[in-house]
Symmetry: C2
Subunit: 208 residues, 2 copies
């Protein structure tokens, strides 16, 4: 892919995990081939939308054949970069950090949680994963070549923690703190905004 595919819109990128998800289900149900019409019905996106999306990356369908599920999933996974693994740490060993440490979805996406960090040095272990003192995080990132950090600290601490991580060389941040983390140029950030989702739910309930 390289840097030149940066112009692909975020909307297209956010549909790729949806393709991944449904292709995984089709493969698990032993479906080897899916027509663009059926794939459209499953995903809820129009057939031309799917074609356009995939054309951004070269296009993978064959006229009159549809898509080979395994081949297409391999391509989608490659586009998403989940065909490799990322050494991942969690910052904050509270309830959310602990819940995430046990989250199985990480493994299927290639995110391998190797350690948790907390400023409370009395916490030694959570969900079978060692909890290390926060003051060691900088060295750990450098020595273990950690690429991804999941932030679950309180809002007030988020910026300071992120600065330390970025300075130590982290490449991706999955931020659960209710703080709007802006990514510097060489770091990817996904802010998880649980409250935004709740408000959207509230809106749609009002409209029922």
């Amino acid at each position: 892919m390289g840097k030149f595919s940066n112009k692909i819109s975020e909307t297209v990128i956010r549909r790729m995990p949806v393709y991944h998800r449904y292709l995984t289900e089709l493969i698990e149900s032993d479906v080897e081939r899916v027509s663009s019409k059926d794939f459209s019905a499953i995903t809820g996106f129009s057939a031309s939308q799917i074609r356009q999306d995939l054309n951004n990356f070269g296009g993978f369908g064959q006229q009159g054949y549809g898509y080979n599920t395994k081949q297409l999933k391999e391509q989608v996974d490659k586009i998403l970069g989940i065909d490799k693994t990322y050494n991942t740490i969690i910052i904050g060993a509270g309830r959310l950090g602990s819940a995430l440490a046990r989250y199985k979805g990480f493994r299927t996406s290639g995110f391998m949680v190797t350690s948790l960090f907390d400023i409370d040095e009395t916490i030694k272990n959570v969900s079978g994963i060692e909890v290390k003192p926060m003051r060691q995080v900088r060295d750990y990132i450098k020595e273990e070549k950690v690429e991804v950090a999941i932030i679950t600290v309180p809002k007030e601490a988020c910026k300071e923690v992120a600065d330390i991580l970025i300075d130590a060389g982290i490449k991706g941040i999955w931020n659960f703190s209710p703080y709007d983390l802006k990514a510097p140029e060489r770091v990817a950030v996904e802010n998880i905004r649980l409250n935004d989702s709740l408000m959207t739910l509230s809106y749609y309930m009002k409209e029922l």
Copy 2:
């Protein structure tokens, strides 16, 4: 608002919580008035985008004055329906359910968690909130007029649990199970797809 505003696109709706978030910050910093230009710089949306979004609901700015932050936030909250409170329960008292039970953001969005439910009847209390046996959920929803349920059960149990909740009269579901819950007509559903977000992070890391 009523049913006729249903035609407002999801993209517009999903920008409303962003307005809410930044207006709250402005008000907390004692900013009473914000020009559409400044509000555009803060939110990252263009001034004309903001004007268009708000025009969907009547429009709230004044030429040459900009926006009164408190008044605009009140309007946005009303649009989102978060000026009222929702009686909320959590299904599943595992780590994620417990983490969510302690999540402070619920209160500011009007979601009041009154009880957790679990099939494991040995769990009695989590984060200071009573855990009730799952077999009582139907009666509890009806008697306590519960409107929202947060699902944190394993993927395999999600559909069955949702059917029980919907049958008992729940109006909104915030689903954390990695199962693609489809909403029947009279129920609003927000599926939280943590894995989709992780894959997006992976993509953007690859593009760095």
